[in-house]
């Protein structure tokens, strides 16, 4: 059984159709990259999979781990193992980062009928993962994302990914706005989390993230449809020839 099966997915925002029939199948253990020009629907795909309610699915189906993902609320999808690293992580003033993470982990544990983690169970894991992402322990007591630099926010997303250990990790343009060092650290975190049980959907505008994260498949999204799919070499080809090439190839030239 595939980890994720997307079939003829159509989705709209405020009445505008953005996704116009996306098909994609991902097995556990694989890394798939979605590339594409601005406005092609990359982030919409991520948001729909994370079940954001401002996005309306008008047609198609999505099976996650064999279950109907489109029937799930965001918190149910999250508890079932869908994680999205946000392009613009949100600030939660007054709530400590560690407290927030522990609450999230316990929400997932509770969903699965497991006992909640207390601070003593939580801390060693938290500290280990902070180290992996080269993050300062002081972040523990700071409010979630409040006053974080752009790079810290993105690393904090990967930290959450590393703590929550989802089955499907969606990275929504995690590389945008990162300098090369931050990019390396983020990629290092992602690589450390690769496992035969986990799938990654890496959404990016630029090829450079793929210099650091080894991808198995590359899909080019153009105007709400996957125009081309291939191996990692496709990313290089795109970098060289530009998105115009993929659009022409797909016969949907702008």
């Amino acid at each position: 059984m595939a980890l994720l099966e997307i079939e003829d997915l159509h989705a709209s925002v405020d009445g505008h159709e953005i996704l116009k029939g996306v098909n994609l199948t991902m097995n556990a253990g694989e890394v798939h990259s979605i590339m594409g020009p601005n406005g092609s629907g990359k982030s919409t795909l991520a948001q729909v999979l994370a079940r954001r309610e401002t996005y309306e699915v008008t047609r198609g189906k999505v099976l996650f781990d064999g279950k109907d993902l489109l029937e799930m609320k965001p918190e149910d999808a999250a508890c079932q193992g869908v994680f999205m690293a946000f392009q613009y992580p949100v600030e939660i003033p007054g709530i400590g980062n560690a407290y927030f993470l522990r609450s999230a982990m316990n929400a997932v544990r509770k969903y699965h009928g497991q006992d909640e983690l207390d601070a003593m169970d939580f801390l060693p894991l938290y500290k280990e993962r902070l180290k992996l992402l080269e993050m300062d322990e002081k972040l523990m007591n700071r409010s979630v994302n409040e006053g974080f630099s752009g790079g810290e926010k993105k690393r904090n997303e990967i930290l959450q990914l590393a703590m929550l250990e989802p089955k499907l990790a969606i990275l929504d343009e995690t590389d945008s706005g990162l300098d090369i060092d931050a990019l390396r650290i983020v990629a290092q975190g992602v690589n450390a989390m690769r496992s035969p049980e986990r799938g990654f959907l890496v959404i990016t505008h630029y090829q450079r993230l793929l210099d650091y994260i080894t991808t198995d498949f590359v899909h080019v999204l153009v105007d709400g449809k996957i125009a081309r799919s291939g191996g990692p070499e496709l990313a290089l080809e795109l970098e060289e020839k530009g998105y115009g090439w993929a659009e022409t190839e797909a016969g949907i030239s702008a």
């Binding site: 999250a78 949100v90 007054g94 609450s103």
Partner: protein, 485 residues
């Protein structure tokens, strides 16, 4: 975001959990307000002559105010006319009004307090909390009295204080909130029925939190309690109050007065968790909470700190303030006020700087949800002699949904050029993006809302004693359920 809004709205329909009525026989005076009623109340309470005179004096003043102007109209609240002749001004559980021990308390009343989570029996008490319980008009039990008395701390009902400590009462009653202060203070002075009295002697650090739980039970009654706390030189006391009332579809009036006096080097910390019945979601019923609370930092280096969490009442009208008379005295006000459904709150503080180098801090967090209207109203006044005075004010509003309102009226009046004033204000809204972020991490909508609101209130909650802070967080969660709309 329609579906998450719906979920939140559904949660808002959650019932008020403290709305039960206890079936006890009441001893009540007839409805209405006149000199005879005041005489009757005073007689029922066996008061000395000076108290009766004090009450009658206040009543005459109140009648004059009622004739001339009626209730104060400046607050940002609306309510129908209150018929002061249609209220019962004294209601007490029918039994011996003064009780020597808990065995003498009506078991029905004890069960009520148990339902409210207030363990009155001493052995069940949270370690270190002494409780006075006021049921309708009468204080029914004060715990730990003996232990406190060993240290010279007086903690008793107001009625007892009038009898046993008349000199202290005479000296301080009305010295911070005179009956001429305002309409509701005058009304309270005329008809107040009970409340708590605390005196902490020189140099004593009160060894436990003192706590009063107020419960309105009887129908058609008003509750008019009066609290007086005196901290003598170098003493310290922390006082907590909690309030609940049954669900009734008519409005009930609560007009309390609290006076605090801190002498040289004394500190008083006063915390309130107010959860009177707020009315239903259409705004029927609920308590009209018109309260005057003020502390006087009479002595040098004294400190008065107010912390309030206001989640209940149909209308909240209260401005716990500090008169900073002693040099180097400190006043603090930390407030969380939440209005959901049709609740209205007009609340804030007054900091009056008289002495030199006086300092005040104001942190106000207003949360508006449903169709709630939340107003911060504050006055910081630096008088001519208050050289070196400082004030810091932070005033934040959080909106949940698009049918509520947040309003801010900060008044600043500075008459000494050495004063340093800081004012910060913010208004924010719980956004779909914040909720989605938390839900994407696995939190349910209501837990996500509660987390965002608790984060917003953190700087106030950390001022509350530990067990109260936990209670306040839970209360906020319940009061907010179904509020994003």
């Amino acid at each position: 975001m329609s579906s998450s809004v719906d979920t939140i709205r559904d949660l808002a329909l959650q019932d008020y959990k403290w709305g039960f009525v206890t079936d006890v026989e009441e001893d009540r005076v007839p409805k209405g307000l006149n000199e005879d009623i005041v005489r009757l109340i005073s007689a029922r309470k066996g008061e000395p002559e000076f108290m009766l005179e004090w009450r009658l004096n206040a009543l005459r003043h109140w009648f004059k105010m009622e004739r001339e102007k009626g209730e104060p109209k400046w607050a940002n609240i609306t309510f129908g006319p209150i018929d002061y002749q249609d209220i019962v001004y004294y209601s007490a559980p029918k039994q011996k009004p003064r009780l020597e021990n808990l065995e003498a308390v009506d078991p029905e009343i004890l069960r009520t307090y148990e339902k409210l989570g207030i363990p009155l029996e001493e052995q069940k008490l949270l370690a270190g909390v002494a409780v006075d319980a006021v049921f309708d008009s009468v204080s029914v039990a004060t715990t730990f009295k003996g232990k406190l008395a060993e240290m010279g701390v007086i903690f008793c009902s107001f009625s007892e204080a009038v009898k046993n400590h008349p000199d202290l009462v005479k000296k301080y009653l009305g010295s911070v909130v005179p009956h001429t202060d305002n309409f509701f203070a005058a009304l309270n002075a005329a008809v107040f029925t009970d409340g708590s009295f605390v005196y902490v002697p020189k140099g004593v650090r009160c060894p436990m939190e003192l706590s009063t739980y107020f419960r309105i039970n009887a129908a058609e009654t008003g509750q008019f309690e009066r609290t007086l706390i005196i901290a003598d030189e170098g003493s310290y006391v922390s006082y907590l109050e909690g309030c609940t009332a049954p669900i009734r579809d008519t409005n009930q009036l609560h007009a309390a007065v609290v006076e605090l006096i801190a002498l040289d080097n004394a500190t008083i910390k006063y915390s309130t968790v107010q959860n009177w019945y707020p009315g239903d979601k259409e705004g029927r019923g609920g308590i009209y909470n018109f309260v005057t609370k003020r502390g006087k930092c009479l002595g040098k280096n004294s400190k008065i700190s107010w912390t309030q969490v206001e989640t209940g009442s149909a209308i909240t009208w209260k401005y716990p303030g500090c008169i900073l008379q002693g040099d180097n005295s400190v006043g603090e006000f930390y407030s969380v006020a939440l209005t959901n459904n049709r609740q209205q709150a007009d609340t804030g503080t007054k900091m009056i700087h008289i002495g030199k180098n006086t300092r005040s801090t104001i942190v106000s967090k207003g949360i508006s949800a449903g169709r709630g209207q939340n107003t911060y109203r504050g006055l910081v006044k630096i008088l001519k002699g208050a050289t070196g005075a400082r004030n810091y004010t932070q005033c934040d509003s959080l909106l949940i949904g698009d049918r509520c309102g947040a309003h801010t009226f900060p008044y600043i009046d500075v008459r000494n050029s050495t004063a340093k004033m800081e004012h910060e204000a913010s208004t924010s809204k719980i956004g779909e993006n914040q909720l989605f972020y938390l839900r994407q991490r696995g939190l349910k909508t209501e837990d996500a809302v509660s987390m965002i609101v608790n984060g917003f209130c953190k700087t106030v909650f950390k001022e509350l004693p530990m067990e109260f802070a936990v209670e306040a967080q839970k209360l906020l969660g319940v009061s907010l359920e179904g509020s994003v709309g």
